[in-house]
């Protein structure tokens, strides 16, 4: 059974590129903002989330805090160019979180594969 990946980002081009990169190996879901992302997290059993920080409607911190509030411990990779250390620190208080700076795409691909492969250990 294929692993499941959710990509939450407000840049449609990036979302499409990431979807193309991962869709051969994983079932990929996409969301343009945090609200849509949360809806998918509530409906599907997701193995890994690639999420941006700064998004319209609901930012990355709100997405992870609400996800954890519902008892969902899915790993989050925050893939972002936004370097707000205070916000990162707030997010890092939640378990299973990792920060990768854009545009390190190779590291993002490697880490996503590793996380999904080891999902049961996290």
């Amino acid at each position: 059974m294929k692993g499941t990946l959710l990509i939450v980002d407000d840049e449609p081009e990036l979302v499409q590129n990431l979807k193309n990169l991962f869709s051969d190996d994983f079932q990929v879901f996409t969301a343009g903002d945090g609200v849509q992302g949360l809806e998918i997290l509530n409906q599907r059993n997701i193995d890994c989330v690639i999420c941006d920080f700064s998004m319209p409607v609901m930012d990355g911190l709100q997405v992870i805090s609400k996800t954890r509030m519902f008892g969902n411990h899915v790993p989050f990779i925050f893939y972002t160019a936004y370097d707000n250390e205070a916000l990162k620190n707030q997010i890092a208080e939640y378990e299973n979180t990792l920060f990768l700076a854009k545009p390190n795409i190779k590291e993002l691909i490697d880490m996503t594969f590793i996380i999904i492969k080891n999902r049961s250990f996290l």
Binding site: E85, K88, N89, E93, N96, L98, E107, M111, I114
Partner: protein, 290 residues
Amino acid sequence: MKVNIHGKVLWINFHHLYYFYIVVNEGNLARASKILSIGQPTLSSQIRQFEQSLEVSLFDRSARKLVLTEAGKLAHQYATEIFKIGTEMATKLTCKQQEMTNNLKIGLMDGVPKCLGLDICKNAMLKSQKNIQIIKGRSDELFKDFEDHEIDLLITNFVPENSEKAGFSFKKISSSPIIICGHKKFQTLQKSFPRSLEDAPLMLPLKLSKSRQDIDNYFEKMNIKIKVLGETNDISMQKLFASEGMGLIATSLASVEDLLENNNLIEIGRLNGVTEDIYLLCSENNVIVF
């Protein structure tokens, strides 16, 4: 109790309300006066005072038996609720006190090696007759619970600035060296460490954490330029990153001892003078000698 109804002040005496409640429940003054251990005339006069204070008649005194007026029925309904809640309160407070006396709740902050938490718990079990309960969680949540006295002891990797002012005492219980470790494919980096770390892929804790600041200061002092691939404070993520061979991690020896023993990771080198310190915070009521 003073009640202000549209500018008019009424006094409700809860002793009188209780007398009224018992009289109605018992059905006559004689039995109620026995239960309340007061004389019948006194009880009768107290109930009259109660009626006067409320400016209503609670009993229909024209009847031979004890008959409640409509106001009396309503007052009895409320009295039943009030004393039911009172009983609940007393029960809960007693149970809470018993729970506080019998249980020792230990908070273990995320990021603190679990083996350390277990050592503390074993120690607590030996020195105390209490049931030990471990609560794992985020620092902000655990500190709040600790301040609210929901947690008795807290195992943490930092001490908040206001701890002494708030009446908490703390003790350093462990100090573990920070090491660089990774998959065995990085073994060649052991040679000429730490210079060999120049441009090696590293996963580090976040910049605002104390350990990251110590790590950055170390590399700056050694004039070594490092390549940070990613950041996480989550030890499980760090271990995964390292054991899968994606890169190296800088973490306390205590947190990866098991992986080093099983050869899942190898130690590349130690950052001299950089340690992760673990503290035990106690409230004044729980100064246990560990």
